[in-house]
């Protein structure tokens, strides 16, 4: 679902990475692009405005670090803002001390309430509960029938009678208690937020049941209207969470952001497919970086934050950008990197790393070899590798217990890396050029392109995989 939005951001950021520092004009341009990207993802205009404003304030703030690339700044800021918007923890269901725990589903027509009811019932059963379904949608022809069929499929009882929603709800609750069921899920008819009569009715159902949880079921493809609707339902029913349906499509999912923002309640579940099993709990904290397509860059940043010496890093980065990065700097960075744990783990957290690289087995002992080679060089050789003739290379190979081929390889790759960094600007394509490795979830759709496998020109320049 979030892939297209991800792509969009990706394109923006790739372009950004190729730039030098950001002036006000650039910031404005970037913000415009982010705005368009968010709007095309159906994030509500008001939500977008808030987001953009918050990002603008931070991107133009006087206190921005001096030696950073625009991409880094913006990515970090946008990510934090998105996370803040989506924010919060995953919803934890706490069960009523006096069962049954009552769950009420409401939403517009066709948002997927009936299907979600059955899926939710199945989910509760998997949690070791004994759910019971109440079909209070007496509006749509055969809605109750649909619920009965689904209920039979998952082996959960369904209560309904052709009276009115409130008495069906009451009757169902009594029946659930009689049967000793501990979770009751109430499916209601779809209704428009402006339909006073029906909104009144669902409010009465809610008052009769006093649900422990009221979920707003919303289609992931919803546009700008999501906000108004969610607001109206929230006013009427005091929502506790959101169930986002039809997530397996290619909608950019902006509605999720909007609704979350308006209602201020977590997205609790995702309905991810047509089978009853296609239902999962939602982890808000994982979404922002998914929207941004950043792999799990956050964890990486956290790690780096813990382990990296800011001063040294800043200097090295600057030298890398200006092309004066030496083998000494490289050695420093390598050592810092080692503190962060095994390389393979790190790579998997990184966005934009081609799959063949990410999946490759890295022997951490090889890192030691690199270290040894550099350590066997004299200070002059480290700052100016051009002085390295055949005999020096042989000496280094002997000194580090490697072969001249290995020494040559290191030198050549190092040179290539430096050249590339200088040539295309700060790390431009390295991190951003590849398609972000989308975390496993996005591979759900039956037609997802394999993205991670693409090797971009830039990464090819660095990594001739042989």
């Amino acid at each position: 679902m979030f892939d297209t939005l991800t792509d969009r951001f990706d394109a923006i950021f790739t372009r950004l990475r190729g730039r030098g520092r950001l002036g006000d004009a650039e910031v404005a341009e970037v913000l415009r692009e982010i705005r368009v990207a968010l709007l095309e993802a159906d994030v509500n205009l008001a939500v977008v405005r808030d987001l953009i404003e918050a990002i603008r304030v931070r991107c133009t703030g006087a206190e921005l670090a001096k030696h950073l690339t625009p991409a880094q700044q913006v990515i970090k800021v946008v990510n934090e803002e998105l996370t803040a918007t989506l924010g919060g923890e995953a919803l934890k269901i706490s069960y009523a001390s006096k069962p049954p725990t009552v769950v009420l589903l409401a939403g517009l027509q066709g948002s997927g309430k009936t299907t979600a009811s059955a899926k939710l019932a199945r989910w509760f059963r998997q949690q070791g509960r004994h759910p019971y379904l109440i079909g209070a949608d007496l509006q749509r022809p055969a809605a109750v029938e649909q619920l009965r069929v689904l209920g039979a499929e998952i082996g959960v009882g369904v209560f309904s009678e052709p009276t009115d929603p409130v008495s069906v709800a009451r009757g169902g609750l009594a029946e659930a208690q009689r049967l000793g069921r501990d979770v009751v899920i109430v499916d209601t008819a779809g209704r428009l937020a402006i339909d006073r009569e029906l909104m009144d009715e669902v409010r009465r159902v809610s008052q009769a049941l006093r649900p422990n949880y009221t979920f707003f079921v919303v289609d992931a493809m919803t546009g700008q209207d999501a906000v108004q609707t969610a607001e109206a339902f929230h006013q009427a029913l005091q929502l506790d969470g959101i169930i986002l349906t039809k997530v397996d499509g290619d909608a950019r999912g902006g509605a999720a952001l909007s609704v979350k923002q308006v209602v201020g309640r977590p997205i609790a579940f995702l309905s991810t497919g047509e089978r009853i099993a296609d239902f999962e709990t939602f982890h808000p904290d994982r979404l922002a970086s998914r929207i941004l397509g950043m792999g799990d860059v956050l964890s990486l940043i956290e790690k780096a934050e813990r382990e990296y010496d800011e001063e040294v890093t800043g200097q090295a980065l600057e030298r890398l950008q200006t092309g004066t990065f030496t083998l000494d700097d490289f050695l420093d960075q390598l050592r810092q990197l080692k503190k962060m744990g095994p390389l393979t783990g790190l790579l998997s957290l990184m966005p934009g790393v081609p799959r063949e690289v990410r999946d490759a087995k890295v022997d951490d002992r090889d890192v030691g070899k690199i270290e040894a080679i550099i350590c066997s060089m004299t200070p002059l050789e480290r700052t100016d590798p051009t002085v390295l003739d055949g005999s020096r290379r042989l000496r280094i190979a002997h000194g580090s217990g490697t072969s001249t081929t290995e020494v040559n390889n290191l030198l050549r790759q190092f040179k290539e890396m430096k050249k590339m960094m200088r040539g295309i600007g700060p790390m431009a394509k390295l991190v951003g050029g590849g398609r972000p490795g989308n975390p496993s979830k996005s591979s759900k759709g039956s037609r997802k392109k394999v993205k991670g496998g693409r090797v971009t020109p830039s990464s090819r320049g660095l990594g001739p995989t042989r």
Partner: protein, 374 residues
């Protein structure tokens, strides 16, 4: 290999951790929530409007009848849409109230159109044209209301030349209309309402319950068939939808029924196998004696920009001939059809404005656009 990876890693981590230095500033989150200021006047409406007032009834009358009906159809649409005034109306009132036309005017128009789900690119294009016309002198307006009118005219003119009526086959065989769309947009309901309209117009209607996937979809259609006095052909659950539609066409042909309304299961346009299934359904529906004259994409008015993608994918797969825009009686404006129209040229044929059988009306660009403007 390892070397390369290490180099990448060093460089990448450097870059990433460089970002850390920027972002360590603590901040607080702006608490601002979007709100919709204007109240939403909405007259209460009976959940299912039974055959009610004459004008509403008239709206459902087929176009075969005389002109007065088609004229009464329009007020109905406006009336229905009018209830959802609110947010957007505020924007346009603001624009109208301005002294002159300036950059802020255009910004407000832009926001209003985006809030109506028209989409950024279509909005930009439409407003850009308007601006150009103002500059060239092709349009000489000085006050905001006139500008708004010009914009409305521009938008309505996007639908110029569209044929809104549904086509019937001219030969002997039964006409087949195929309904496609993603899940939950209202395909079955639309078919039910149309069945009612067409049987009232004296046509023999056969409903093909091609949604063999969703639980009780057949039952849902059946209750509509009863209401409309139409025949229905159903397959067993999970049956091949093409075969159900084939049977329905055969049945219609043998009984001399003139029209087959073919339901299909909702499917997301991203599911390759399901879209392939739909292609087959279309091929079968085309087979004589049936004549497929319409493939209607049913689109929920609440849909955002994904609607464009849906329209594109379904058009590629089964050659959509027109759009049925449902649920337009809510707060959603359905502006995405403008984007669809400008990108794919698909006409809008019908508009669903309520749950009652009478609440399916012929699309009227002028009404639609003016509703867009609150």
């Amino acid at each position: 290999m390892t070397l390369v990876i290490v180099l990448i890693a060093v460089a990448a981590v450097l870059l990433v951790s460089g970002g850390v230095v920027v972002g360590t500033r603590s901040r607080r989150r702006a608490p601002a929530l979007p709100r919709t200021g204007a109240p939403r006047p909405g007259a209460p409406r009976p959940p299912t409007s039974p055959p009610t007032s004459p004008p509403v009834m008239a709206a459902t009358e087929p176009e075969t009848s005389s002109t007065p009906e088609t004229q009464t159809a329009r007020p109905v649409l406006r009336d229905r849409l009018g209830r959802a005034r609110g947010l957007l109306a505020g924007y346009f009132d603001q624009v109208r109230g301005r002294g002159g036309i300036d950059e802020a005017t255009f910004e407000e128009l832009e926001e209003a159109l985006i809030l109506a789900d028209v989409g950024v690119s279509t909005t930009t294009r439409v407003l850009g044209d308007l601006r150009d016309k103002l500059r060239d002198g092709a349009l000489s307006v000085t006050d905001p209301p006139a500008l708004l009118q010009a914009l409305q005219d521009d938008l309505a003119s996007m639908f110029e030349g569209d044929v809104e009526s549904l086509a019937y086959a001219d030969g002997d065989g039964p006409t087949v209309w195929l309904f496609v769309g993603v899940n939950g947009v209202g395909k079955t309901t639309t078919i039910g309402k149309l069945a009612l309209r067409e049987t009232r117009a004296g046509r023999g209607v056969v409903l093909a319950a091609g949604d063999t996937f969703r639980a009780a979809a057949g039952e849902q259609l059946e209750s509509w068939a009863e209401r409309a006095g139409a025949r229905i052909v159903r397959g067993s659950d999970g049956a091949d939808p093409s075969s159900v539609i084939f049977d329905a066409v055969q049945h219609a042909a043998s009984r001399g029924a003139g029209l087959v309304l073919a339901d299909t299961a909702g499917r997301l346009h991203t599911k390759v196998n399901l879209m392939d299934e739909l292609r087959k359904v279309r091929r079968v529906a085309e087979r004589p004696p049936g004549q497929l004259t319409e493939v209607l994409l049913v689109l929920d008015a609440t849909t955002g920009q994904n609607g464009v993608v849906q329209a594109r994918q379904f058009t590629e797969a089964v050659g959509v001939t027109g759009i049925v825009l449902t649920k337009l009686d809510g707060t959603a404006k359905g502006g995405v059809v403008l984007a669809i129209r400008s990108e794919l040229g698909l006409p809008i044929k019908l508009v669903g404005v309520g749950e009652g059988p009478a609440d399916l009306v012929v699309f009227d660009p002028v009404e639609f656009v003016s509703a867009l403007f609150g």
